[in-house]
Point group: D2
Chain length 293, copies 4
């Protein structure tokens, strides 16, 4: 029935760490109980872990939850649950799949929340009309038993830039491949990704997110930056200060280079006025900032 | 030197309409004369037209402006000029290339302006720190002589949504492939692209853009929409009303479908609460709205 | 019911050129009549033109074809028709909508065909297993009456590169912003987009496409290129030679710059060996090549 | 100098796991020693680890390698080294940075190799002209000391599809949110990502990659697939069989759903002929296949 060919005898193999589920489930929930409607839009991935050996090695699907069922469940539980934050909704989903799937013991949920602001009309946000914003809220909920959860929250697509108060100097200069001159005045820009974990106790995830989002931007403005690394650390420290709920925070901060274009060749001065916004490559800094005690 | 092969005798061919230049030139200009810095970021394409026959048909590049020179010129003229709007900068560029290029008679400039807002600190926008916004400003300047110009301005990436006050009914129902039920209550969303042309007279392009941007959003909120087509027309009419400078305006409005997920199968009611945000396909409406007299 | 505000009296406006329909309809058709299956995958946009004034200006949808119906029709007619090329299928679709829509007088269909090759097993292509290729086939069919059609076909995502046999010299050198040195040996690369129109008579669209696709690549290899413009012209002339069905052909050819990295600073020679593949900006050439008589 | 505001006293914070370097460095190396040129194109990321505390917490950059230097080094070492596979080049890079950077103790290199095939002319691949292919080769090299390395290789963007010989049945059917019917005949498609690790001993990375690339495709064709999970396992087992160098292999396989379009509503049969290619959501399977002894 199928085409065959000569192949050596198969080696013995076993299944290692694995998961399956549904990804890019795009969900919008509208709360229209009051005249002022509320909306939340999520892109959700659900991945289940457990004993899926028979399916992989024998082609035996007995007791497996279909990924189509995962999709139905996300929409169904969004109706019955999802009264609060997406982080809590993720916990509801994992608890459900562990309870419902005979072979499911745990898993993880990842989401991206697209943010909408009310359209301003006459100085006020409209009751039922919205415009999409650029930054995104992210999150991940993991569980090994469907009852206890590890929650991570995050921010993506936050693009910030400052036109002064940053530099890069005192680095390793006497090295074969080093040609970059030092500077104490430059343009600095980054496309910030952040993720953070929580300590013990109850958390108002929506409120924490707003505080982190605001603090990252404010710290970006409030100091002379000798390096993106130092700004990363100061942002982390400031977030830990205003959010006691957070145990540690991670940043991924590309240094989106804005290069002074060489205009001297044409008899023109360029005193930090005219820049080429270089799409690649970019410096890339990643790091955790943690509580010291 | 090169590999050859048998081919039939070449037919006679001639060069038709053509242009060349440089695309995706990413430029940022910073005005730091006052403590409160101003920034503008453009992605620019310059295309030149003229008598380029010899280059195409004979491989004779005499008097051609190199595209590398086009890039240098964009940055150089941004330093000397670009005091006002990107639309005026586009005119400066075209005038320059017609004057400088012995074979250039005209061309067009297209730009996308990335928009930045000041980061709010203590209720006020910061002096030199900015966050990128989602919508983009676009424009195109054309000229056949380097002295007179046709200007088009536009908006892209404006994603708006309303949770009520829209419907779709009374269309052709008795047709073989028609299965969609009528509705007078739905969620409506669109990713608006707009482009407009100007009448005679001086124009403050920056000010017009702000008025159009605000008006499109306000009109989106202010009526019951029987169709995206009708909303498109009302938006156009409202823009023509608040912007006497504009002669006509074009919209491209995809209908980003939000489909009520079928929850009845699970014994759940779905009263416009739980939606699947469908990535494709989308209804797509395009049209010009023009002054009637 | 909706929030209102003070606005000036509305100006008189009228609807200009317009169209509507459905975009990004993703269709796969499988022919399984023989053991050796055939597949075709299209992304389709259908746009209808006609008298849609009442819908836009009055919100009166009478006799309008719903865009959901357009989608159903594409899949339905793909079952009943689409026996040959996508260009012919586009004609079937337009003829249908003009016949069925009381207000529809014409329109256009645009498609992208994703190309699949049979997976090689034992030196032969498999009967029912396929791998996606990178280049794409495109097309557009227009009609003003649903009976006569203008057909354009095309190629996208064809990325070609040669490591020798190209240069750029003899251009305008004595100019303020010109710093680029001449070269007779460089690396040349382009991401080719082509579109062509047909003369009178019957056309085997699938066969023409294969000839154009092959010829563009062969011509790219067979000459010393003094400029991308000259290569564009030679490609066009060669296509017109091997395809008498084609009346004229258009190319969009970005010059994807590969810049020799400056290694002399580190005491290293770089004899066209080490390149930075620059993502932006790129030279951009567009032009038609037409039959001379 | 900067705007300030009232903030609580800063908490004590420390730097956790971190790295920095340069990303999206686009490199092409041409070997033109023979008439038949060879090319390799890589996008490279280099991340260094070590003692970067002072930079983060004190703004003290002493002895730090600038990311601009990282870029220069990648191009410089590509000239002097990079004689073999990208995996070996990654090792050369890490060894260099540990040797050169006073604070660097290790790091990782990630690369994507873009693949080019010779353009066929007269039945043979051309000497110096190439066309880009769709699949990509990936890799990652890690080191904690600059002397010993962990290498992972991979494949991305391999999109495969079969029109028969797959199904999905015997799963958990009696469940509230399960509506999907069983099937023993469907269309199955996946956008395969693979990554594998190596056992002890010398490895010819280029040769292994070719074997894995070919085997994944062949196994995809050679069996009735009761689930993507089973196909994933069989692919892994087959790769381990033909590549003794590989210790284990991981796959990420989205199930790109092709849904039979409901044509019965229009009186048309759809016997696995007409499909909607659904862009989202998709089933997503991830798993390792390892040697059993």
């Amino acid at each position: 029935m199928t085409q065959t060919q000569n192949t050596p005898a198969k080696v013995k193999a076993r299944l290692g760490e694995n998961n399956y589920g549904k990804a890019e489930v795009n969900l919008m929930k509208v709360n229209r109980t009051a005249e002022r409607h509320e909306i939340r839009e999520l892109q959700v991935r659900v991945a289940m872990t457990g004993d899926f050996d028979a399916a992989h090695t024998q082609g035996d699907n007995t007791d497996l939850i279909a990924t189509d069922t995962v999709r139905n469940t996300i929409y169904g539980l969004a109706k019955e649950g999802f009264q609060g934050s997406p982080e809590e909704f993720g916990q509801e989903l994992l608890a459900h799949f562990v309870k419902t799937g005979p072979r499911v013991t745990g898993g993880f949920v990842e989401f991206t929340e697209y943010l909408w602001e009310r359209i301003p009309v006459g100085g006020e946000g409209h009751n039922h009309s919205f415009a999409r914003q650029m930054p995104q809220r992210t999150g991940r909920v993991e569980s090994e038993d469907g009852q206890t959860f590890k929650v991570t929250s995050g921010i993506e697509n936050l693009y910030v830039l400052k036109t002064t108060e940053s530099g890069w100097a005192n680095y390793l200069l006497n090295e074969r491949f080093t040609t970059l001159p030092e500077t104490h005045e430059r343009l600095m820009a980054s496309f910030v990704t952040a993720r953070w974990e929580y300590g013990a106790g109850q958390v108002d995830y929506d409120d924490v997110w707003q505080r982190v989002y605001r603090q990252i931007q404010e710290t970006f403005t409030d100091h002379y930056s000798p390096s993106l690394q130092n700004t990363l650390f100061l942002m982390g420290q400031a977030v830990l200060t205003v959010c006691p709920e957070i145990s540690r925070i991670w940043f991924r901060m590309p240094n989106k280079h804005h290069l002074q274009y060489n205009l001297e060749r044409f008899g023109l001065e360029n005193n930090l006025e005219i820049f080429h916004v270089d799409p690649e490559p970019y410096g890339l800094m990643e790091g955790w900032v943690e509580r010291a005690e």
